[in-house]
Symmetry: C2
Subunit: 202 residues, 2 copies
Amino acid sequence: MARPRYRRRKEDRPQEITEAAFAAFAEKGFTATRVEEVARRAGVSKGLLYLYFKTKEELFKAVIRSVVTPRLDALTRTLDSPDSSAEAIIRGPVLDFMKRVPGSPVSVVIRLMISEAPKHPDLVDYYWDNVASRGLAALRQLLERGVANGEFRETAVNELPQLFVAPVMMSIVWGIVFADRSLDTDKLIETHVDMILAYIRA
Amino acid sequence: MARPRYRRRKEDRPQEITEAAFAAFAEKGFTATRVEEVARRAGVSKGLLYLYFKTKEELFKAVIRSVVTPRLDALTRTLDSPDSSAEAIIRGPVLDFMKRVPGSPVSVVIRLMISEAPKHPDLVDYYWDNVASRGLAALRQLLERGVANGEFRETAVNELPQLFVAPVMMSIVWGIVFADRSLDTDKLIETHVDMILAYIRA
DNA sequence: ATACTTGCTGACTCTTTAGTCAGTAAGGGG
DNA sequence: CCCCTTACTGACTAAAGAGTCAGCAAGTAT
């Protein structure tokens, strides 16, 4: 009796909806996910969802942002490390970070970016400005610091930090396409880092 | 006058349609491409398209197959090379092959696979059986041959040929997402091959 | 010429789903 | 307790697009 049919929780709704949307997008991708399905998962009506997000695309962007923002902190925290050797930083926090990515929400975001990039250039800009370019710049800086203090040689890797990150990308794509055929992504990434270090070491 | 409104060209239609579909999918992806758009590009009516392809999905599969099949030959030709050293084969035909992939139709196929894989497990199986597993197996064989004749050491790369191919994947994804921000994919791939060879050389 | 087969057309149907809005009820202030 | 604001609902609309089909006409055989 008198149990209210719903509660007004203006504060919590946006986050609950983006979380539900993230879960749905992770399972089925953006296009294949129905707005009603997101509303159902979030425990609200479709109408309410449209009060908080003007269109399905806006919801999409909000989801991307909600995943990317906290990761940014993790990334910067990883890199403003103590002043140990560049190699120690790479073998420590950087390697850990890389190994965590394939199983993380970032992996979902990358899948969404690959599928939706051509239709959402502004989102690509956002991702570039906030994640890709920063991450690559930080990596380049780390490598150059290694060169400066005599640990590393000057190599093409300095201008191509993408090379550093390639096996992470490979792992993510493998997970998307060949989800069931297992791949030891940790070993893949570790071996690659070993190899790179051997290559660039002075 | 009396120019016939159309010609009957049963033989050529399927290929013309798959070619038009490939071009359309390359630009907009599978889901965003309208069947009518494909028909228009192929210069036929939607009804005719449905005479040759039962559904949009069948058309999709036909497109994938039409790109993959000729590439299979190229791949096998690359690998049943003369009996030079493993390193020479890697630095020659294998490197060439890898450098060509990011700008080729294969790149489009991979984008389509990433976007559509979750909805098309049978297509993933097809791609796995005909491309991925064969390519990786051939690579593994090449590496083991190098080990057998004393060129290479036993390393983790033998069980993880994906590592070999990682920068190609990176280049493809880069091209999809950051199409405009240029990346020297040739140099990326060359450097990576250099690095791998240095790592595995006995 | 005529009859016949079949490659081909394009207007139609039917389903799906993003987005709307008139109305309902939760909850707080007087 | 009543009233007023507004968070919230869910049935509805409108658009889009996959797939169909009755009929048309290109080519062929007689």
